[in-house]
Subunit: 195 residues, 2 copies
DNA sequence: GTCTATATACGGATAGAC
DNA sequence: GTCTATCCGTATATAGAC
Protein backbone atom coordinates (compact mmCIF):
# COMPACT_ATOMS: atom_id res chain seq x y z
CA UNK A 1 0.00 0.00 0.00
CA UNK A 2 1.36 3.39 -0.99
CA UNK A 3 1.21 5.94 1.76
CA UNK A 4 -0.21 9.42 1.28
CA UNK A 5 1.18 12.51 2.88
CA UNK A 6 0.12 12.82 6.50
CA UNK A 7 -1.26 9.28 6.52
CA UNK A 8 -0.91 7.31 9.73
CA UNK A 9 -3.79 4.87 9.50
CA UNK A 10 -1.73 1.90 10.64
CA UNK A 11 -0.81 3.76 13.80
CA UNK A 12 -3.92 5.85 14.37
CA UNK A 13 -6.42 3.04 13.83
CA UNK A 14 -5.36 0.82 16.72
CA UNK A 15 -4.68 3.88 18.84
CA UNK A 16 -8.29 5.00 18.43
CA UNK A 17 -9.54 1.62 19.62
CA UNK A 18 -7.18 1.48 22.58
CA UNK A 19 -7.89 5.02 23.68
CA UNK A 20 -11.64 4.65 23.31
CA UNK A 21 -11.56 1.42 25.30
CA UNK A 22 -9.61 2.95 28.14
CA UNK A 23 -11.70 6.11 28.35
CA UNK A 24 -15.04 4.30 28.09
CA UNK A 25 -14.02 1.81 30.77
CA UNK A 26 -13.01 4.69 33.01
CA UNK A 27 -15.87 7.13 32.51
CA UNK A 28 -18.63 5.31 30.66
CA UNK A 29 -19.65 5.49 27.03
CA UNK A 30 -22.03 8.43 27.28
CA UNK A 31 -19.59 10.41 29.38
CA UNK A 32 -16.77 10.18 26.85
CA UNK A 33 -16.80 12.53 23.88
CA UNK A 34 -15.30 12.00 20.45
CA UNK A 35 -13.29 15.17 21.07
CA UNK A 36 -11.83 13.63 24.21
CA UNK A 37 -10.82 10.46 22.40
CA UNK A 38 -9.32 12.46 19.56
CA UNK A 39 -7.33 14.64 21.95
CA UNK A 40 -5.76 11.62 23.63
CA UNK A 41 -5.02 9.98 20.29
CA UNK A 42 -3.41 13.19 19.12
CA UNK A 43 -5.71 14.11 16.22
CA UNK A 44 -8.72 16.34 15.69
CA UNK A 45 -12.22 15.00 16.26
CA UNK A 46 -13.10 14.89 12.59
CA UNK A 47 -10.21 12.54 11.86
CA UNK A 48 -11.80 9.79 13.98
CA UNK A 49 -14.47 9.35 11.35
CA UNK A 50 -11.88 7.84 9.04
CA UNK A 51 -11.87 4.86 11.41
CA UNK A 52 -15.45 4.51 12.50
CA UNK A 53 -18.70 5.55 10.92
CA UNK A 54 -20.04 6.83 14.24
CA UNK A 55 -19.68 6.58 17.99
CA UNK A 56 -22.12 3.68 18.29
CA UNK A 57 -20.12 1.57 15.84
CA UNK A 58 -16.96 2.35 17.74
CA UNK A 59 -18.51 0.94 20.92
CA UNK A 60 -19.96 -2.09 19.18
CA UNK A 61 -16.64 -2.95 17.54
CA UNK A 62 -14.90 -2.89 20.92
CA UNK A 63 -17.43 -5.26 22.44
CA UNK A 64 -17.64 -7.62 19.50
CA UNK A 65 -13.86 -7.80 19.14
CA UNK A 66 -13.58 -8.75 22.81
CA UNK A 67 -16.15 -11.52 22.58
CA UNK A 68 -14.70 -12.88 19.34
CA UNK A 69 -11.21 -12.91 20.84
CA UNK A 70 -12.53 -14.73 23.91
CA UNK A 71 -14.21 -17.44 21.85
CA UNK A 72 -11.17 -17.82 19.61
CA UNK A 73 -8.87 -18.16 22.60
CA UNK A 74 -11.09 -20.85 24.08
CA UNK A 75 -11.20 -22.77 20.81
CA UNK A 76 -7.41 -22.72 20.71
CA UNK A 77 -7.10 -24.33 24.15
CA UNK A 78 -6.24 -28.01 24.53
CA UNK A 79 -9.03 -29.52 26.61
CA UNK A 80 -8.71 -32.39 29.06
CA UNK A 81 -11.06 -35.36 28.66
CA UNK A 82 -12.09 -35.82 32.27
CA UNK A 83 -15.03 -33.54 33.22
CA UNK A 84 -13.51 -32.51 36.56
CA UNK A 85 -10.25 -31.57 34.86
CA UNK A 86 -12.16 -29.79 32.11
CA UNK A 87 -14.06 -27.67 34.64
CA UNK A 88 -10.86 -26.70 36.41
CA UNK A 89 -9.30 -25.89 33.05
CA UNK A 90 -12.24 -23.66 32.15
CA UNK A 91 -12.01 -21.83 35.46
CA UNK A 92 -8.33 -21.13 35.04
CA UNK A 93 -8.71 -20.18 31.39
CA UNK A 94 -11.51 -17.75 32.22
CA UNK A 95 -9.49 -16.05 34.93
CA UNK A 96 -6.31 -16.00 32.87
CA UNK A 97 -8.08 -14.47 29.89
CA UNK A 98 -10.16 -11.90 31.76
CA UNK A 99 -7.82 -10.60 34.46
CA UNK A 100 -5.41 -8.82 32.10
CA UNK A 101 -8.34 -7.38 30.13
CA UNK A 102 -10.26 -5.56 32.85
CA UNK A 103 -11.13 -2.64 30.56
CA UNK A 104 -12.58 -4.87 27.85
CA UNK A 105 -14.63 -6.87 30.35
CA UNK A 106 -15.86 -3.75 32.04
CA UNK A 107 -17.03 -2.26 28.76
CA UNK A 108 -18.50 -5.52 27.48
CA UNK A 109 -20.68 -5.85 30.58
CA UNK A 110 -21.47 -2.26 31.53
CA UNK A 111 -22.20 -0.71 28.18
CA UNK A 112 -24.75 -3.20 26.87
CA UNK A 113 -27.40 -0.56 27.59
CA UNK A 114 -25.82 1.80 25.12
CA UNK A 115 -25.93 -0.56 22.16
CA UNK A 116 -28.65 -0.35 19.56
CA UNK A 117 -31.04 -3.34 19.72
CA UNK A 118 -29.40 -4.91 16.67
CA UNK A 119 -25.90 -4.60 18.07
CA UNK A 120 -27.07 -5.78 21.47
CA UNK A 121 -28.47 -8.95 19.96
CA UNK A 122 -25.17 -9.70 18.24
CA UNK A 123 -23.12 -9.26 21.41
CA UNK A 124 -25.59 -11.29 23.43
CA UNK A 125 -25.40 -14.13 20.91
CA UNK A 126 -21.62 -14.24 21.32
CA UNK A 127 -21.89 -14.20 25.09
CA UNK A 128 -24.41 -17.00 24.94
CA UNK A 129 -22.01 -19.03 22.83
CA UNK A 130 -19.37 -18.68 25.51
CA UNK A 131 -21.78 -19.63 28.29
CA UNK A 132 -22.67 -22.74 26.33
CA UNK A 133 -19.06 -23.90 26.51
CA UNK A 134 -19.28 -24.03 30.30
CA UNK A 135 -22.77 -25.49 30.34
CA UNK A 136 -21.60 -28.33 28.10
CA UNK A 137 -18.91 -29.18 30.63
CA UNK A 138 -21.42 -29.11 33.49
CA UNK A 139 -23.89 -31.31 31.64
CA UNK A 140 -21.26 -33.82 30.58
CA UNK A 141 -20.01 -34.08 34.14
CA UNK A 142 -23.53 -34.50 35.44
CA UNK A 143 -24.19 -37.26 32.91
CA UNK A 144 -20.95 -38.91 33.98
CA UNK A 145 -22.07 -38.77 37.60
CA UNK A 146 -19.23 -36.57 38.85
CA UNK A 147 -21.21 -33.31 39.08
CA UNK A 148 -24.56 -32.62 40.72
CA UNK A 149 -26.65 -29.46 40.41
CA UNK A 150 -30.28 -28.44 40.23
CA UNK A 151 -30.14 -26.45 36.98
CA UNK A 152 -27.19 -26.38 34.60
CA UNK A 153 -28.22 -23.10 32.95
CA UNK A 154 -28.62 -21.19 36.19
CA UNK A 155 -25.44 -22.74 37.56
CA UNK A 156 -23.54 -21.70 34.44
CA UNK A 157 -24.57 -18.09 34.86
CA UNK A 158 -23.89 -18.16 38.58
CA UNK A 159 -20.36 -19.49 38.11
CA UNK A 160 -19.51 -17.08 35.30
CA UNK A 161 -20.79 -14.15 37.37
CA UNK A 162 -18.60 -15.31 40.25
CA UNK A 163 -15.50 -15.62 38.07
CA UNK A 164 -16.01 -12.41 36.13
CA UNK A 165 -16.71 -10.47 39.32
CA UNK A 166 -12.99 -10.72 39.94
CA UNK A 167 -12.23 -7.80 37.66
CA UNK A 168 -14.23 -5.50 39.93
CA UNK A 169 -11.75 -5.73 42.74
CA UNK A 170 -8.61 -7.66 41.75
CA UNK A 171 -5.51 -5.54 41.25
CA UNK A 172 -2.34 -7.22 40.06
CA UNK A 173 -0.30 -5.10 42.44
CA UNK A 174 -2.36 -6.31 45.39
CA UNK A 175 -1.67 -8.85 48.08
CA UNK A 176 -2.66 -11.90 46.03
CA UNK A 177 -0.94 -13.52 43.06
CA UNK A 178 -2.85 -14.65 39.99
CA UNK A 179 -1.91 -18.28 40.58
CA UNK A 180 -3.42 -18.11 44.05
CA UNK A 181 -6.60 -16.53 42.70
CA UNK A 182 -6.90 -19.37 40.19
CA UNK A 183 -6.51 -21.90 42.98
CA UNK A 184 -9.10 -20.24 45.24
CA UNK A 185 -11.71 -19.91 42.51
CA UNK A 186 -10.88 -23.36 41.21
CA UNK A 187 -11.75 -24.77 44.61
CA UNK A 188 -15.00 -22.80 44.89
CA UNK A 189 -16.19 -23.84 41.44
CA UNK A 190 -15.22 -27.47 41.84
CA UNK A 191 -16.87 -27.84 45.21
CA UNK A 192 -20.02 -25.94 44.21
CA UNK A 193 -20.94 -28.54 41.60
CA UNK A 194 -19.39 -31.61 43.23
CA UNK A 195 -21.55 -34.66 43.91
CA UNK B 1 -46.82 22.03 57.70
CA UNK B 2 -48.89 24.55 55.81
CA UNK B 3 -48.89 24.08 52.08
CA UNK B 4 -48.17 26.85 49.62
CA UNK B 5 -49.98 27.31 46.38
CA UNK B 6 -48.68 25.00 43.67
CA UNK B 7 -46.62 23.03 46.18
CA UNK B 8 -46.31 19.30 45.65
CA UNK B 9 -43.08 18.51 47.40
CA UNK B 10 -44.43 15.41 49.12
CA UNK B 11 -45.40 13.99 45.75
CA UNK B 12 -42.68 15.41 43.52
CA UNK B 13 -39.78 14.57 45.81
CA UNK B 14 -40.16 10.79 45.77
CA UNK B 15 -41.17 10.91 42.14
CA UNK B 16 -37.89 12.58 41.21
CA UNK B 17 -35.95 9.82 42.98
CA UNK B 18 -37.97 7.03 41.40
CA UNK B 19 -37.80 8.49 37.92
CA UNK B 20 -34.10 9.24 38.12
CA UNK B 21 -33.42 5.72 39.36
CA UNK B 22 -35.34 4.11 36.53
CA UNK B 23 -33.84 6.27 33.80
CA UNK B 24 -30.27 5.97 35.09
CA UNK B 25 -30.59 2.20 35.39
CA UNK B 26 -31.90 2.06 31.84
CA UNK B 27 -29.58 4.45 30.04
CA UNK B 28 -26.72 5.26 32.40
CA UNK B 29 -26.07 8.37 34.46
CA UNK B 30 -24.22 10.38 31.84
CA UNK B 31 -26.80 9.56 29.18
CA UNK B 32 -29.74 10.86 31.20
CA UNK B 33 -30.39 14.60 31.26
CA UNK B 34 -32.06 16.61 33.97
CA UNK B 35 -34.56 17.74 31.33
CA UNK B 36 -35.44 14.12 30.60
CA UNK B 37 -36.00 13.35 34.28
CA UNK B 38 -38.12 16.49 34.67
CA UNK B 39 -40.23 15.62 31.65
CA UNK B 40 -41.09 12.17 33.03
CA UNK B 41 -41.80 13.59 36.47
CA UNK B 42 -44.08 16.16 34.88
CA UNK B 43 -42.26 19.37 35.86
CA UNK B 44 -39.80 21.70 34.25
CA UNK B 45 -36.07 21.11 34.61
CA UNK B 46 -35.54 24.02 36.98
CA UNK B 47 -37.98 22.56 39.48
CA UNK B 48 -35.71 19.56 40.07
CA UNK B 49 -33.26 21.79 41.87
CA UNK B 50 -35.76 22.15 44.71
CA UNK B 51 -35.00 18.50 45.49
CA UNK B 52 -31.32 18.14 44.76
CA UNK B 53 -28.45 20.58 44.71
CA UNK B 54 -27.08 19.07 41.51
CA UNK B 55 -27.03 15.98 39.34
CA UNK B 56 -24.10 14.41 41.19
CA UNK B 57 -25.90 14.63 44.52
CA UNK B 58 -28.99 13.07 42.98
CA UNK B 59 -26.92 10.04 41.93
CA UNK B 60 -25.12 9.79 45.24
CA UNK B 61 -28.37 9.91 47.23
CA UNK B 62 -29.78 7.05 45.18
CA UNK B 63 -26.75 4.88 45.83
CA UNK B 64 -26.38 5.75 49.49
CA UNK B 65 -30.09 5.22 50.18
CA UNK B 66 -29.88 1.78 48.60
CA UNK B 67 -26.90 0.70 50.66
CA UNK B 68 -28.35 2.10 53.88
CA UNK B 69 -31.64 0.31 53.25
CA UNK B 70 -29.74 -2.93 52.60
CA UNK B 71 -27.81 -2.71 55.84
CA UNK B 72 -30.91 -1.76 57.82
CA UNK B 73 -32.86 -4.67 56.37
CA UNK B 74 -30.07 -7.05 57.32
CA UNK B 75 -29.91 -5.71 60.87
CA UNK B 76 -33.65 -6.28 61.21
CA UNK B 77 -33.37 -9.96 60.30
CA UNK B 78 -33.53 -12.65 62.96
CA UNK B 79 -30.35 -14.67 62.58
CA UNK B 80 -29.95 -18.38 63.26
CA UNK B 81 -27.16 -19.48 65.58
CA UNK B 82 -25.77 -22.36 63.57
CA UNK B 83 -23.20 -21.17 60.98
CA UNK B 84 -24.59 -23.38 58.22
CA UNK B 85 -28.11 -22.08 58.83
CA UNK B 86 -26.78 -18.53 59.02
CA UNK B 87 -25.08 -18.84 55.65
CA UNK B 88 -28.23 -20.17 54.06
CA UNK B 89 -30.18 -17.37 55.68
CA UNK B 90 -27.77 -14.78 54.29
CA UNK B 91 -28.03 -16.26 50.79
CA UNK B 92 -31.81 -16.15 50.83
CA UNK B 93 -31.90 -12.68 52.37
CA UNK B 94 -29.52 -11.34 49.75
CA UNK B 95 -31.55 -12.75 46.89
CA UNK B 96 -34.87 -11.70 48.42
CA UNK B 97 -33.65 -8.14 48.97
CA UNK B 98 -31.90 -7.66 45.65
CA UNK B 99 -34.18 -9.35 43.13
CA UNK B 100 -37.05 -6.84 43.44
CA UNK B 101 -34.58 -3.95 43.33
CA UNK B 102 -32.79 -4.59 40.06
CA UNK B 103 -32.66 -0.88 39.19
CA UNK B 104 -31.08 0.09 42.50
CA UNK B 105 -28.50 -2.69 42.30
CA UNK B 106 -27.70 -1.85 38.71
CA UNK B 107 -27.10 1.80 39.55
CA UNK B 108 -25.20 1.03 42.76
CA UNK B 109 -22.73 -1.15 40.86
CA UNK B 110 -22.50 0.46 37.45
CA UNK B 111 -22.35 4.12 38.31
CA UNK B 112 -19.53 4.06 40.83
CA UNK B 113 -17.34 5.61 38.14
CA UNK B 114 -19.53 8.67 38.02
CA UNK B 115 -19.25 9.52 41.70
CA UNK B 116 -16.85 12.14 42.96
CA UNK B 117 -13.99 10.61 44.95
CA UNK B 118 -15.59 11.70 48.23
CA UNK B 119 -18.95 10.16 47.40
CA UNK B 120 -17.29 7.04 46.04
CA UNK B 121 -15.49 6.52 49.32
CA UNK B 122 -18.75 6.77 51.28
CA UNK B 123 -20.56 4.24 49.10
CA UNK B 124 -17.59 1.89 49.18
CA UNK B 125 -17.51 2.04 52.97
CA UNK B 126 -21.15 0.98 53.11
CA UNK B 127 -20.56 -1.84 50.67
CA UNK B 128 -17.61 -2.99 52.69
CA UNK B 129 -19.80 -3.06 55.81
CA UNK B 130 -22.21 -5.37 54.06
CA UNK B 131 -19.44 -7.66 52.83
CA UNK B 132 -18.19 -7.90 56.40
CA UNK B 133 -21.53 -9.39 57.47
CA UNK B 134 -20.96 -12.35 55.16
CA UNK B 135 -17.28 -12.65 55.96
CA UNK B 136 -18.12 -12.88 59.67
CA UNK B 137 -20.38 -15.83 58.94
CA UNK B 138 -17.70 -17.54 56.88
CA UNK B 139 -15.04 -17.01 59.54
CA UNK B 140 -17.27 -18.22 62.35
CA UNK B 141 -18.16 -21.33 60.40
CA UNK B 142 -14.52 -21.97 59.61
CA UNK B 143 -13.59 -21.60 63.28
CA UNK B 144 -16.40 -24.02 64.14
CA UNK B 145 -15.00 -26.51 61.65
CA UNK B 146 -18.08 -26.62 59.41
CA UNK B 147 -16.68 -24.47 56.59
CA UNK B 148 -13.38 -24.70 54.75
CA UNK B 149 -11.92 -22.15 52.34
CA UNK B 150 -8.55 -20.75 51.35
CA UNK B 151 -9.30 -17.06 51.89
CA UNK B 152 -12.41 -15.70 53.57
CA UNK B 153 -12.11 -12.23 52.02
CA UNK B 154 -11.80 -13.48 48.46
CA UNK B 155 -14.52 -16.06 49.05
CA UNK B 156 -16.83 -13.35 50.38
CA UNK B 157 -16.42 -11.27 47.25
CA UNK B 158 -16.75 -14.31 45.02
CA UNK B 159 -20.03 -15.38 46.63
CA UNK B 160 -21.52 -11.88 46.63
CA UNK B 161 -20.61 -11.47 42.96
CA UNK B 162 -22.30 -14.78 42.20
CA UNK B 163 -25.47 -13.83 44.08
CA UNK B 164 -25.70 -10.28 42.80
CA UNK B 165 -25.08 -11.43 39.21
CA UNK B 166 -28.64 -12.72 39.33
CA UNK B 167 -30.08 -9.30 38.59
CA UNK B 168 -28.34 -9.29 35.21
CA UNK B 169 -30.51 -12.04 33.84
CA UNK B 170 -33.33 -13.02 36.19
CA UNK B 171 -36.77 -11.85 35.12
CA UNK B 172 -39.71 -12.52 37.43
CA UNK B 173 -41.86 -13.42 34.44
CA UNK B 174 -39.36 -16.06 33.36
CA UNK B 175 -39.37 -19.80 33.69
CA UNK B 176 -38.06 -19.94 37.24
CA UNK B 177 -39.71 -18.95 40.52
CA UNK B 178 -37.89 -16.96 43.17
CA UNK B 179 -38.12 -19.79 45.68
CA UNK B 180 -36.39 -22.09 43.23
CA UNK B 181 -33.67 -19.53 42.60
CA UNK B 182 -33.08 -19.28 46.34
CA UNK B 183 -32.78 -23.04 46.56
CA UNK B 184 -30.35 -23.30 43.64
CA UNK B 185 -28.08 -20.56 44.89
CA UNK B 186 -28.39 -21.82 48.45
CA UNK B 187 -26.98 -25.15 47.30
CA UNK B 188 -24.14 -23.59 45.34
CA UNK B 189 -23.08 -21.36 48.23
CA UNK B 190 -23.35 -24.06 50.87
CA UNK B 191 -21.38 -26.60 48.86
CA UNK B 192 -18.72 -24.10 47.77
CA UNK B 193 -17.59 -23.53 51.35
CA UNK B 194 -18.42 -26.93 52.81
CA UNK B 195 -15.71 -28.95 54.54
C1' DG C 1 -5.60 11.16 6.25
C1' DT C 2 -5.87 15.18 8.70
C1' DC C 3 -7.06 19.74 9.32
C1' DT C 4 -10.23 23.92 10.27
C1' DA C 5 -14.69 25.54 10.43
C1' DT C 6 -19.32 24.94 11.10
C1' DA C 7 -24.31 23.16 11.24
C1' DT C 8 -27.41 21.85 14.56
C1' DA C 9 -28.78 20.18 18.82
C1' DC C 10 -28.58 19.45 23.69
C1' DG C 11 -26.24 19.69 28.26
C1' DG C 12 -26.31 21.66 33.61
C1' DA C 13 -27.53 25.21 36.17
C1' DT C 14 -29.54 29.83 37.51
C1' DA C 15 -32.66 34.24 37.81
C1' DG C 16 -36.73 36.18 38.63
C1' DA C 17 -41.94 36.22 38.00
C1' DC C 18 -45.99 34.13 39.95
C1' DG D 1 -42.74 25.10 44.50
C1' DT D 2 -43.02 25.70 39.82
C1' DC D 3 -42.69 28.23 35.78
C1' DT D 4 -40.38 30.66 31.68
C1' DA D 5 -36.33 32.31 29.83
C1' DT D 6 -31.64 32.26 29.40
C1' DC D 7 -26.40 31.94 30.16
C1' DC D 8 -22.78 29.41 28.59
C1' DG D 9 -20.65 25.37 27.41
C1' DT D 10 -20.28 21.06 24.85
C1' DA D 11 -22.05 17.26 21.86
C1' DT D 12 -21.98 14.47 17.19
C1' DA D 13 -21.24 14.71 12.70
C1' DT D 14 -20.13 16.83 8.23
C1' DA D 15 -17.93 19.94 4.39
C1' DG D 16 -14.25 21.31 2.05
C1' DA D 17 -9.23 22.84 1.95
C1' DC D 18 -4.65 20.82 1.91
Amino acid sequence: MARKQGSHSDITGPKVQQTALRLIAQHGFAAVSMRQIAAEVGVQAGALYNYTSDKQTLLFDLMRDHMVALLAAWEAEAKPDDPVARLDHFTRFHIRFHLPRADQVFVAYMELRNLTPENFAKVEALRRQYEDRLEDILRDGTAAGVFAMQDSRVTTRALIAMLTGLINWYRSDGRIETARIEAIYGDLVRKAVAV
